[in-house]
């Protein structure tokens, strides 16, 4: 054939090309290719690694998660347990100090981190799931379906977020997963707008028409052709949503409409400690620091993913 097997990347040498007879008839010696083709996953990973802040964010987030789950399990003080030291400043015994009732603030913060992260991940998961399906269906069918579905979305978007979340959050009680559902029920509308926007441009692509010409049903086109192509935008959006959800949960708990005692969350810890800001500042600053660390690291990860998931980059480079 006049064409090389690797069409677009002519500089690429496929790793194994044995069996190709040479003119002398002797099998060619195993040659190490100078440029190796990389798989899609390797490329994404590589591009992500080049984004230093994203890598730093990922490291910080992994450390925080480990600390929250493994750390709290091995730490000598349990969450909610009272110690003899009351209002102790940070020391080796109590890295984050203790509150006026003698509870170890380090154990409290770790527990709060767990709950806040769980809420955030659940919110991101559900709002992405619902929002993606909603937006993709609206964008694909267009017309009246689109109009009706997007007006519903608009309605949700006009709701004053904090007020409604506070009201609903308060009425479902302080259970963390119910609060996640409340927040997800308000955030899916943002995701559906993103998904609809991407699908609107994708559905005009010829491969969608080709899929229809092959006899694919509407549901199949949405699930197998449109959503996977919109996935990069959706993943990035979901990542950022984790950070946004952490902040909203914090705000809710701070206002007293989120997670309630006996459980705790980072927002609740900040809220409880605000009166102690001048006398025992460690109670306030450590949970605050954790909130900032989580939100910041996730935003950097989202940034890195955005760059890494852009598929229109050459395969063999650097």
């Amino acid at each position: 054939m006049p064409e090389t097997p690797s069409g677009a990347s002519t500089a690429t040498t496929t790793a194994a090309a044995p069996g190709v007879p040479t003119s002398t008839g002797v099998p060619p010696p195993e040659r190490k290719p100078t440029v190796v083709e990389r798989s899609q996953f390797q490329l994404v990973l590589r591009r992500f690694r080049q984004h230093r802040l994203a890598v730093a964010g990922l490291v910080v987030l992994i450390l925080l998660v480990l600390l929250a789950y493994v750390g709290s399990a091995v730490w000598k003080y349990k969450f909610g347990a009272f110690t003899p030291d009351e209002s102790a400043p940070p020391s080796f015994e109590h890295p984050f100090g203790t509150d006026s009732t003698g509870k170890d603030q380090f154990a409290q913060v770790l527990r709060g981190t767990q709950i806040s992260l769980q809420i955030a991940v659940l919110v991101a998961f559900f709002s992405t799931l619902v929002g993606t399906v909603w937006g993709a269906v609206a964008g694909y069918f267009g017309g009246l379906t689109d109009t009706i579905m997007m007006r519903v979305t608009d309605l949700v978007l006009t709701l004053p977020l904090i007020a409604v979340a506070a009201l609903l959050g308060h009425s479902v009680g302080g259970t963390w997963w119910l609060i996640s559902l409340v927040i997800a029920g308000l955030y899916w509308a943002y995701v559906s707008r993103v998904a609809r926007g991407v699908v609107l441009s994708l559905r005009e692509k010829e491969f969608v028409e080709a899929a229809r010409a092959l006899g694919a049903s509407d549901a199949r086109i949405i699930a197998r052709h449109l959503v996977p192509n919109a996935l990069d935008a959706i993943i990035v959006n979901a990542t950022v949503l984790v950070a946004v959800a952490i902040l909203l949960e914090t705000a809710l708990s701070y206002l007293g409409f989120g997670v309630t005692v006996p459980d705790t969350s980072l927002g609740l810890l900040v809220s409880e400690s605000q009166t102690a800001l001048t006398t025992r500042p460690w109670l306030f600053y450590f949970p605050g620091l954790f909130i900032i660390l989580i939100a910041l690291s996730i935003n950097f990860i989202g940034d890195g993913l955005r760059d890494a998931l852009d598929p229109r980059q050459p395969r063999a480079r650097q």
Partner: protein, 352 residues
């Protein structure tokens, strides 16, 4: 080609197909009463310039027109009415019995799936076979359309392949289910001239392997000449000449066909001036009365602007042309009909 096989049953029959698109300025009549039949194993070429209604005709056959389109007439596949059928019913025919090859291979493959997956998906959409079996079949199909190292290529993504390779993958997908009709909508237009011959070869392989009838839509007369058994010439949404490839190429009976043929460079007749057809196709929004080609036709007479000609037999019962003056074309060369130094006419035609 395999044109006159004994089983010359008509697999796809289009009758009086009319397609209109409502617009702010009125109804755009993209297709106006097109009728044709394709027999088993036959290659039917449809030629015409951009906007003649070639693609809309084939999209109507597949039921892929936007919902706003107003379609009437009939499209029958083996006697089964496709026009107006429900999507669910159409889905059993699309890809299985009638498959389509699109113009631009750069966009007609899904960028997020490997080509092996996409070929296998086409097979599994209409046959319940295992993934492994579908993958094996995919490799065979890729080999049939002359893709080197098909096994290794299965895991490639569309962006790793050149345009020609991608179009071959599209052809492999089109032949995956042994369809009865393959519609190729300008399959070589988006490709390099050097690759076009290879693609046509792959198409021919696909057509012979599946024994399918093929509808080949193009504006490249060279492509048609080499492949088609019968040719339809379209102009302003209508068929203006129908016949076997020999009829249309050697004894054209419609000035538009004559002009098209005369505008193709021919290596065996060096030194012949190429002719150009003056003017531009009429707006399908406001069609002139009479023959739509009349404003550009050198043989125009009064009758042409009054009454639109219908398809009538000319040199034989199978060779039809829609022209009042087809008798005047007997034995005429393109240079005689169209003024070879037509540049002046072109200018005046544009001014008009």
């Amino acid at each position: 080609m395999t044109g006159n096989s004994p089983a010359s049953e008509v697999v796809l029959e289009v009758a009086d197909l009319t397609v209109g698109f409502p617009s702010d300025d009125g109804l755009v009549q993209a297709v106006r009463g097109v009728s044709y039949g394709v027999r088993r194993g036959e290659v039917l070429g449809i030629v015409g310039e951009s906007g003649a209604g070639k693609s809309v005709t084939s999209l109507a056959v597949m039921g892929l027109l936007p919902r706003s389109a107003q379609v009437s007439g009939s499209v029958r596949f083996r006697g089964r009415q496709l026009l107006g059928a429900a999507d669910a019913e159409l889905n059993t025919v699309r890809g299985r019995n009638i498959s389509m090859i699109f113009q631009d291979p750069m966009t007609s493959l899904n960028p997020v799936y490997s080509i092996g997956f996409q070929v296998a998906e086409a097979i599994r959409a209409h046959h319940s076979v295992s993934k492994a079996a579908a993958r094996n079949r995919a490799a065979e199909l890729l080999e049939l359309v002359h893709i080197p190292n098909p096994r290794q290529r299965l895991d490639s993504y569309p962006h790793e392949l050149s345009g020609g390779m991608r179009q071959r993958v599209v052809i492999a997908i089109a032949m995956a289910n042994d369809p009865d009709v393959i519609i190729a909508d300008e399959p070589t237009t988006a490709l390099d001239v050097t690759v076009q011959a290879q693609i046509m070869e792959s198409l021919q392989t696909a057509q012979q392997q599946t024994g399918a009838a093929m509808v080949l839509i193009t504006h490249d007369l060279g492509v048609i000449a080499g492949q088609a058994d019968r040719v339809l010439v379209m102009y302003a949404g209508k068929l203006v000449e129908v016949g076997t490839a020999e009829d249309v190429f050697y004894t054209p009976r419609m000035p538009y066909t004559v002009g098209l043929l005369g505008s193709v460079p021919q290596l065996d007749r060096p030194g012949t001036r190429l002719i150009s057809i003056p003017g531009a196709p009429p707006s399908v929004l406001h069609l002139p009365a009479g023959c739509p080609f009349a404003p550009r036709c050198p043989l125009v007479v009064a009758r042409c602007t009054e009454k639109e000609p219908v398809l009538e037999p000319t040199t034989g019962p199978e060779h039809l042309a829609a022209c009042h003056r087809s008798a005047a074309l007997v034995g005429a060369a393109p240079g005689d009909v169209f003024d070879a130094s037509a540049s002046a006419v072109v200018e005046s035609g544009r001014d008009a």
